[in-house]
Symmetry: C2
Subunit: 194 residues, 2 copies
């Protein structure tokens, strides 16, 4: 399975493609950062991000796209741009029928370092080690994109199993309720026929 | 000039097309609200919004798109969805080479009611009156989309004149600085030749 991880942003948008092998082995396929000028028109900055992501989707043909889920703990203006960039990335993937999953920063940190509160340096160190890279990916957005892809590869099987189990449980509950309703109706009919 | 106003959102996204005539006269061409189910996948909700906006761009061929600028004064989760929806709308317009301008809610309110702090009811009343509509647009997102388009039609000429004046001033400043530098250099050369 191949995953494109995206750390969305307008100033810097991290992109990382990772292949998952057997067990926990992961391989880096590509990593880069798209930058758009701060003085450019917002719509054109979004267009640059969207076009680059579409080129990556065409070139690397991932099976899924993992995007960082944004929270507004920082500067409001930055967060809005980040959310908008994440939106156009998700749109590009959805247009190609690819599954898009959003992971929170703490899920990503926990997946690669074991702690949801790890710092950027620790994330970069683990990404470099896990992917056996010759050099630390830089800037941090590049390492974050790779971490997102790894997080998705490792969490997805569990998430899919959970979702399937929940769907089965809901189906069982529906069947049970329908049988109960049928039994009650039959009892009422018998009652009123008496 | 024809403007598509968009009040972005995932649950409800207001769309309104308005034609500007001579002076302040404005005419409603179309208005509607796109809804996406809250239990749908985020990427698919964005896709529905993006596809509907593209259909409107094809059908009504506006000269510009006006989008509400989002602030995070409300619920964080809602605001993120709103920003993402606004992002895909801006992208669709940018892909067609259309100018996209973001207006703040208070700019929009001030344009149609004279007060940046007008309530939703007042905005709807003024939109109904200005566009001579037989009925009040509903829900409020529909009225907001029309108000955004009117705001853009009325503010844009002034905004464009201001931008042109600022560009001219910056150009004059650049020319002046270049002349000053050349004069200084000439003086230095004369000085050292002495």
């Amino acid at each position: 399975m191949r995953v494109l991880g995206v750390d969305p942003g307008l100033t810097r948008c991290g992109l990382g493609v990772v292949d998952g092998g057997t067990g926990r082995s992961v391989t880096c396929v590509a990593v880069d950062v798209v930058r758009t000028p701060a003085d450019a028109d917002l719509a054109h900055r979004l267009l640059t991000v969207a076009d680059t992501v579409e080129q990556w989707l065409d070139r690397y043909r991932p099976d899924a796209v993992a995007v960082e889920r944004v929270f507004s703990q920082h500067n409001v203006r930055t967060v809005m741009g980040t959310a908008q960039a994440g939106g156009v990335v998700a749109l590009g993937a959805a247009r190609r029928g690819l599954p898009v999953v959003f992971h929170t920063p703490s899920e990503v940190k926990a997946a690669v370092t074991g702690s949801g509160r790890a710092d950027k340096n620790q994330v970069t160190t683990m990404v470099t080690r896990l992917l056996r890279l010759a050099a630390r990916p830089s800037p941090a957005d590049a390492a974050d994109a790779l971490a997102l892809a790894i997080c998705h590869l490792w969490r997805e099987p569990m998430r899919a199993r959970l979702a399937a189990a929940e769907a089965r449980a809901a189906e069982l509950a529906r069947t049970h309720k329908a049988r109960l309703a049928a039994a009650r109706k039959a009892a009422d009919t018998t009652g009123s026929a008496r």
